[in-house]
């Protein structure tokens, strides 16, 4: 489609096994497939959430889009331009990333004024206008002008993240990649930063890719969500639909694991599921199977032999699961869910 702002197709990132020395080994059994054949489309002015556990490849995906990491295979297009091999200066300016940790993403020795000035200079603004522009940027993220003259050490985590947002906005980007930008912050500050990002995106007509493991924030901020597990997209669709009726067993487990303020029965009373597979243990997984198989209450023979493909189950809602879309079983094979998450037609058939 030409209307897509960002188009990721069949993108894979493989980290080679370096346990035998600095040069990548030809052995492949220990290499890690961090992103595994991922295709995502992000339309202009859309806010898309990318969720998954640590090790699911969400940060790697973000880094590839930002150009900080080379893709092994697959293609990446921004507004129709192929970015996988060559990125023009304009492309690089158009895609900006905000990092998770505001304590390490700002140079401790540089005053905030210098940080913003540098970004504006890279953005091609003449020197005479830069001070004014820096003040405007600070105002737009809710910081006073006096911040120009101080170093990051005097700012709180939330204030630093505001500076990081201002810096990303300085080059007038089209796409903002936010990689876990609120996870180092307190809950009350998190709400402020989410608000700010939403406002900055809407006011400037930007596209936002919001990477997080926090589903509450996705629900509050995003229009569409992509769920990653073990480097693969397992489910993607409109936020309202996925939260109301999650289809993939992994999405359901993720939603069910969120601690709730008000619930009748305690989450802790239920039996403990096994820990999910993360990148550390993912080296030896065969490609031709479903990686959620071992933790999946719906797993059957086919899941071991064939990787489930993403298939649309309704407009814009895609799921990669062999058990979805199969005839309706009696219902006792459904994974446990919170009573109020709603279960719009529990799919699942042990035989497929």
């Amino acid at each position: 489609m030409t209307s897509a702002m960002l188009e990721v197709s069949s993108l894979s990132v493989v980290f080679p096994d370096r346990s035998y020395g600095p040069r990548p080994s030809r052995r492949t059994e220990n290499s890690v497939v961090a992103v595994d054949d991922v295709s995502i489309q992000v339309n202009a002015r859309e806010i898309v959430g990318v969720v998954g556990e640590s090790g699911s490849g969400k940060s790697t995906l973000c880094r590839v889009i930002a150009g900080l990491q080379q893709a092994t295979t697959g293609s990446l297009r921004y507004a129709g331009n192929d970015l996988a091999h060559k990125r023009t200066l304009a492309d690089r300016r158009a895609i900006q990333m905000i990092f998770q940790d505001p304590y390490t993403s700002l140079n401790p020795r540089l005053r905030i004024g210098y940080v913003l000035d540098e970004a504006l200079k890279v953005g091609g603004m003449p020197k005479a206008d830069r001070l004014e522009a820096a003040k405007e940027l600070l105002a737009s993220v809710g910081l006073p002008e006096s911040v120009l003259h101080i170093r990051p050490s005097r700012l709180s985590g939330g204030q630093r993240q505001r500076v990081a947002i201002a810096r990303a906005l300085a080059v007038q980007p089209q796409v903002i990649l936010a990689d876990e930008v609120t996870s180092a912050l307190d809950v009350s500050i998190q709400a402020v930063i989410v608000d700010l990002l939403a406002k900055a995106t809407l006011d400037r007509g930007l596209t936002l890719v919001f990477v997080t493991h926090n589903l509450q924030v996705v629900r509050a901020l995003c229009q569409r969500v992509v769920v990653l597990h073990a480097g693969r997209v397992v489910e993607a669709g409109p936020v309202s639909e996925i939260f109301a009726s999650p289809q993939h067993p992994y999405t359901r487990a993720l939603l069910a694991a969120i601690p709730r303020l008000h619930r009748s029965a305690s989450l802790l009373a239920e039996p403990t599921a096994d820990e999910s597979t993360t990148s550390a243990e993912r080296t030896a997984l065969p490609q031709a199977e479903c990686h959620f198989r071992q933790l999946c209450p719906l797993a059957h023979e086919r899941c071991r032999q064939e990787r489930p493909a993403l298939q649309a189950i309704s407009a814009g809602h895609e799921v990669a699961c062999h058990a979805v879309g199969q005839p309706e079983p009696s219902g006792d094979t459904a994974p446990r869910m919170s009573s109020s998450t709603g279960d719009g037609g529990v799919p699942g058939d042990r035989r497929g």
Partner: protein, 338 residues
């Protein structure tokens, strides 16, 4: 009272820096019985970690107890701010699970040794027996191959496993009071759930009293029956967890609940608390929350605001307008409170 395993009264902690004294924990009192689970919620910098550290006698440099007393199993271990034997309780009597297992574990020591060391020190167990006990501990924590894994170093384990290993280190000594300082903050939701279940099952099995500090209200709601809300070093509200989260009686609690709505709530929006908690400081007179409070009146600007009983018998709030907090709900629902 001797039925309490840990009784903390009027604990006050001050930090001295460059000749200036700042009170970071003010007049905090709580008590737990065996098997109790008390949660303490608050933002970073509110003094919740400081409180836990004071109970172990491991306050950072510059910080000291200025007043207050602590009773442990009927014995006074801190009197009027003077440490009277906390060190002897550390590990065996009171155990602490830290937030960041990566930095709390010794990176050059095998995890089996880190667990058995505590046992030898506190439980008077021999070398061989302590190693076997360490393996048993790991097995009970859900490690799939404890004999092999007890020989691993912390960097060889995943984040969730490290956190579990640290919980094992603390709980293998069977402390009567288990303090947890944000033990799941760095973990994914699914791993977090596993760790919470583990802590909960240990509490139920051993009857240890749990004091659980977190900024995540959902986590507290799952694991604690009682909760205290801390703001700027003071308890501002306390009560049974379900009731307190259903009908908060302090505007700060109300604000916190708005900032992290339930994933099932009909309205997904996050409401920020106006103002900056980190910028405010302890020099404010009167109620510490009044500069950010939507209900603040003239009377909030001076005086003391201790917890007083409000509404039900178990509910305490430090707010003089606690009856009006319910009105804030209505305002938010109508969309005027933004």
């Amino acid at each position: 009272m001797s039925e309490y395993v840990l009784d903390v009264r009027n604990l006050t902690i001050a930090i001295e820096r460059r000749g200036r004294t700042t009170t970071v924990v003010r007049d905090v009192s709580f008590a737990v019985r065996p098997g109790d689970a008390l949660g303490i919620v608050g933002e970073s910098g509110c003094g919740k970690s400081m409180t836990l550290r004071a109970l172990l006698g491991i306050l950072p440099r510059g910080a000291r107890l200025t007043s207050g007393s602590v009773w442990f199993e009927g014995r006074c271990v801190v009197r009027d701010g003077v440490d009277n034997g906390l060190a002897a309780l550390r590990g065996g009597g009171i155990g602490l699970v830290f937030q960041d297992a990566t930095s709390a574990l010794n990176p050059v020591m095998r995890i089996g040794n880190q667990i058995s060391e505590g046992l030898r020190r506190h439980a008077d167990v021999g070398r061989r027996a302590s190693h076997l006990a360490a393996v048993d501990t790991l097995r009970s924590l859900g490690f799939p191959a404890p004999e092999r894994q007890q020989r691993q170093f912390p960097h060889e384990l995943s984040g969730g496993m490290r956190q579990r290993a640290m919980i094992g280190m603390t709980t293998s000594c069977k402390p009567r009071v288990l303090l947890c300082d944000e033990p799941t903050t760095a973990l994914d939701v699914t791993t977090q759930l596993r760790v919470l279940r583990l802590i909960d099952s240990i509490r139920k099995a051993t009857g240890t009293a749990l004091v659980f500090v977190s900024h995540d209200l959902g986590v507290i709601a799952e694991i604690c029956s009682q909760v205290a809300v801390m703001y700027q070093g003071q308890f501002v509200e306390r009560g049974p967890t379900d009731e307190l989260f259903a009908t908060p009686m302090h505007p700060y609690t109300h604000g916190l609940l708005g900032a992290v709505p339930d994933i099932d709530a009909p309205d997904p929006r996050l409401f920020a608390i106006p103002g900056d908690g980190a910028a405010a400081n302890a020099d404010i007179s009167g109620c510490p929350f009044h500069p950010r409070c939507p209900l603040a009146v003239e009377a909030c600007r001076s005086g003391e605001f201790p917890l007083v009983t409000v509404g039900g018998a178990d509910r305490e709030s430090a707010c003089i307008r606690s009856a009006d907090v319910t009105g804030l709900h209505r305002r938010r629902d109508e969309g005027t409170d933004d």
